[in-house]
């Protein structure tokens, strides 16, 4: 059992804490000089009670916000999101065309393979640390 736990802890990009699972946290490598990056991941509530994601912060950027991209009549719009309710057993995907974590003004230039530190803030005061990998990946196929 101990080994199993150790093995889980060693899985890259996977964080477990207080009934939350964060999978595939990543920041697509952005062109040089670009001041706005995005972070994507999937957050699953593995606990018994609903969780409310109310914010995000990053020591690696001046600002971090939860954003929603929406497209209506061929026009892409972004808007801020104040609260995301995650029911027990529910997975919320931060993915292209939907939710993303908007990261403004990186404090240092990022290269492929670098990591970005994020903290997810929940309404109950819990803070979930997430380490996202910088990857050269813009195609999602669909």
């Amino acid at each position: 059992m101990k080994r199993f736990a150790l093995a889980l802890m060693c899985l890259p990009g996977l964080a477990f804490a207080e009934g939350l699972t964060i999978e595939e946290p990543m920041v697509p490598l952005a062109p040089p000089g670009v001041m706005a990056h995005a972070a994507f991941m999937q957050i699953t509530n593995t606990g018994d009670s609903p969780r409310q994601l109310v914010g995000v912060s990053s020591p690696d950027y001046a600002m971090a916000h939860i954003h929603q991209t929406s497209e209506q009549n061929g026009i892409a719009t972004m808007s801020g999101v104040d609260l995301i309710e995650i029911a027990p057993g529910q997975t919320v995907a931060f993915a292209h065309g939907g939710l993303h974590i908007m990261l403004m003004h990186p404090k240092a230039a990022l290269a492929e393979g670098d990591t970005v530190n994020l903290s997810l803030l929940f309404a109950n005061g819990a803070v979930e640390p997430v380490t996202a990998k910088v990857m050269r990946q813009h195609r999602h196929g669909s």
Binding site: A30, P31, P32, G33, G74, I75, A76, M78, S79, G97
Partner: protein, 197 residues
């Protein structure tokens, strides 16, 4: 026999194009004269449209999701198109920033990050607006927040311009690389057919 075979091939191909990647315009649209430039001192004008296929995309550099996704998929679509058309018919891809105030100093770095031959430019507001209108595109700079930061709304579709300098089609999300390449190859066939008539 050949006609039947072609009909059969067409029917086979039809399900794959059920997901619409592009729309061919009923009539070609003439474009106004324009001049854009970038921080490398390069320029892009209506004269550059003649003699080659061009894809023009409007966007902005502080666009964390939609613009990188579109350019990333266009890079893949252009690679796929290169397998279907003659090298001199592979479209050039040009990104025009509608946000010159924030982007003018670094705009040249943007598109070439996605493909070494992609170019990016910006221009004065009236130059941007003229092409946005002519290509039936859209953008809007949103009111700034307390920090001065502002969002930009913009069309997600991109414009396809033929070697005669007229707008012929729009590509739209999800920009599936294979299907987009197929659409571009077919568009070129119908363009050549029209020229030979």
């Amino acid at each position: 026999m050949i006609k039947h075979l072609m009909t059969a091939l067409f029917l086979l191909a039809a399900p794959a194009s059920a997901q619409v990647q592009g729309v061919e315009l009923d009539e070609p649209v003439a474009l106004p004269a324009f001049t854009y430039s970038n921080d490398l001192g390069e320029s892009f004008t209506d004269q550059d449209l003649t003699g080659a296929w061009t894809i023009i995309m409007f966007g902005f550099l502080s666009c964390p999701d939609v613009c990188p996704f579109t350019l990333g998929n266009l890079e893949a679509a252009i690679s796929e198109t290169g397998m279907r058309v003659r090298p001199d018919n592979v479209p050039k891809v040009v990104f025009i920033s509608v946000d010159p105030d924030r982007d003018a100093e670094t705009v040249s770095d943007y598109a070439k990050f996605f493909h070494p031959e992609f170019k990016s430019f910006t221009g004065t507001r009236d130059q941007i607006d003229a092409m946005v209108e002519a290509t039936d595109s859209f953008y809007r700079l949103m009111p700034p927040d307390s920090t001065g930061y502002y969002e930009v709304q913009h069309s997600s579709a991109v414009s396809v311009i033929a070697p005669d300098g007229t707008l012929r089609a729009k590509l739209q999300p999800p920009f599936d690389p294979g299907l987009t390449a197929e659409f571009l190859a077919r568009l070129q066939i119908s363009y050549r057919r029209e020229l030979s008539q």
